[in-house]
């Protein structure tokens, strides 16, 4: 097998001892991908680009940042003012984190629309959810590192979520803090974990791709690949398509970095952390707002924490809550409608999360939270039962050769 590999004598020598070139060919060159993937399938590779960008910029920021509460804030200003291109590294890192979430959220909703979570892709879906949870932990701890007012109080509010755990809550929180309040030990351990977790995510991405290569990509029709006529090799068809998407992604990132680097941040975070004063209006970064709105919708501390956790954990059982055997929403007239309602619900929850917790916003937040769970726990199973799907096409090739209209 290995001596059949093409290329120079050196390449063959290496490949005979470690078949890395054969492996890469299988994964990225010859890999048969469905020939009908649309642009919504760009977001997986985009997420990998964003992850690599975060790791690279992060490693170089770590060479200048100091993970000690006495020096952390000043070291960030040092990066901004003294370090060569420090401002670029930091703005790429902070805006890159936000766009990473945007890309991953689109990726998730793509999966929801085209039924990518359904058999046989349940474990692929699960690994994806674990990646999102790890991303949230990483982003939260990264947000604490500049040690400004928003950093400090975000750390206080989020770690206090664990105090809602019955019986051991206070002990667990003191353990997380390494003290009686958020302080120096908290910052230093968050820095250690913030450096570790991206590599854990990288490992999870490897598992995600392994599962993907095992069950193969879903596609906009949601029907299985039946043979070579339904696929094209990954390279050059999807490498070029992914590169084009990457170019657009980098344009958007550059737009933020060079023209509005603090657009998604909060001015209060340029005030050094003060444990004695809480800012009057604290809000998390935009990518946490829908979950923050769910937390605040429940007028009970433990209940709010449970609801917020459940809003993500419900995705684990989604493959079984969805009773329809048809994957793609293209052939599901009712599901297609409730999908857009869910998306609108999540966007509105995000808006409510950005508003103060008073007056009409409390009621709107409760209604939207109720609808979120209604969608997954009631609508999804019921629609799967009562809906009459449109007839599925014969094959991917048949649809593509007819001009792409299903």
């Amino acid at each position: 097998m290995s001596n059949s590999y093409r290329g120079s004598a050196v390449v063959r020598w290496v490949n005979d001892r470690l078949p890395i070139f054969t492996f890469l060919d299988h994964q990225m060159r010859d890999y048969p991908a469905p020939r009908n993937l649309n642009y919504w399938w760009n977001y997986g590779s985009l997420a990998l680009v964003a992850l690599v960008l975060q790791i690279v910029t992060g490693i170089f920021l770590a060479m200048h940042y100091i993970g000690d509460a006495r020096f952390a804030f000043d070291s960030v200003e040092h990066i901004m003012r003294n370090v060569n291109y420090g401002w670029l590294l930091r703005y790429l890192h902070s805006n890159g984190a936000a766009l990473f979430f945007l890309v991953v959220y689109v990726h998730i909703f793509r999966g929801l629309y085209y039924g990518s979570y359904k058999s046989p892709r349940e474990i692929l879906w699960w690994i994806g959810i674990v990646i999102v949870l790890a991303m949230m932990a990483t982003a939260f701890m990264g947000y604490v590192l500049p040690w400004g007012q928003m950093s400090f109080w975000a750390a206080t509010v989020i770690t206090n979520l664990f105090s809602a755990i019955p019986l051991l809550g206070q002990e667990i929180v003191a353990w997380l803090w390494g003290g009686f309040a958020v302080g120096g030990p908290t910052l230093t351990r968050f820095y250690a974990l913030h450096y570790l977790l991206p590599f854990v995510i990288f490992g999870l991405v490897f598992l995600h791709l392994w599962a993907l290569r095992t069950v193969k990509s879903n596609n906009p029709l949601g029907i299985d690949v039946r043979g070579p006529q339904d696929t094209v090799p990954f390279h050059p068809y999807y490498t070029s398509k992914d590169y084009f998407g990457m170019g657009l992604f980098l344009l958007v990132l550059a737009g933020f970095v060079f023209y509005a680097p603090n657009y998604m941040g909060h001015p209060d975070n340029y005030i050094p952390a003060n444990p004695m004063v809480t800012p009057t209006h604290i809000v998390p970064e935009w990518y946490f707002l829908p979950f923050y709105a769910i937390l605040r919708a429940i007028p009970d501390k433990l209940g709010g924490v449970i609801a917020m956790a459940a809003s993500l954990l419900v995705l684990f059982v989604l493959p079984w809550l969805d009773t329809s055997r048809v994957r793609s929403a293209r052939f599901r007239p009712i599901y297609k409608v409730i999908f857009w309602f869910l998306l609108a619900d999540v966007v509105l929850l995000g808006y409510v999360g950005s508003q103060p917790a008073e007056g009409i916003w409390i009621h709107i937040g409760r209604a939207l939270t109720a609808y979120y769970f209604f969608h997954f726990l009631i609508l999804t199973p019921v629609v799967g039962k009562i809906e009459r799907p449109r007839p599925l096409p014969q094959s991917i090739a048949a649809v593509v050769l007819k001009g792409g209209k299903a």
Binding site: N160, W177, P185, H281, R296, K301
Partner: protein
């Protein structure tokens, strides 16, 4: 080999199964023994635990005034209550409260209210002389506390905590 293996599986437990369980048990005990020191290393360190006390001189605090002092890196409110505030705190149907507690159980001397200034919801610091009950108001998620520091409206589950303190003289206290 393969034949022997399948035969063993069909006849139930084997000595090989015992070895699997024993190997796993050794690993669990080993990881547990090393794991606890690692977990415990994240707990508050000895210097943090060395209990600090904070002394407060009450003389400069006028009636209707409150100060914030730091005890164990937490803010503590020391409030010299007015007669109206004491009356308002006493004039409450205790059974209607979320965290029922009489005002008298929360103070040693009615005019001195001493509280840990951390909202019991998610740990923000409430703002004094604000809110529907003129006690404290937490800006983060809208909890209203009364003039005894008891939760009245909002998401917080419990009253503001009273720290351990003693009057060393009539006009000074030691917290902790």
């Amino acid at each position: 080999m393969a034949e022997h293996g399948t035969a063993a599986v069909h006849t139930g437990e084997t000595r090989r199964d015992f070895l699997y369980v024993a190997t796993a048990a050794v690993s669990v005990v080993g990881v547990g023994a090393v794991g606890w020191p690692i977990v415990d290393s994240m707990n508050p360190t000895a210097d943090v635990l060395a209990l600090a006390t904070t002394e407060v001189d009450l003389v400069p605090i006028e009636v209707g005034q409150a100060i914030t002092v730091v005890w164990q890196s937490k803010p503590v409110f020391v409030r010299h209550r007015t007669d109206q505030e004491i009356a308002a705190a006493a004039d409450v149907a205790i059974e209607d409260l979320r965290d029922p507690q009489a005002d008298g159980d929360r103070v040693q001397k009615p005019e001195w209210l001493i509280l840990i200034g951390i909202c019991t919801h998610l740990g923000c610091i409430p703002i004094g002389y604000k809110g529907d009950f003129n006690g404290w108001f937490c800006p983060c998620h809208g909890s209203h506390y009364d003039t005894s520091g008891r939760i009245r409206v909002g998401p917080a589950p419990e009253n503001l905590k009273v720290p351990p303190y003693t009057f060393t003289t009539d006009t000074s206290i030691v917290i902790g």
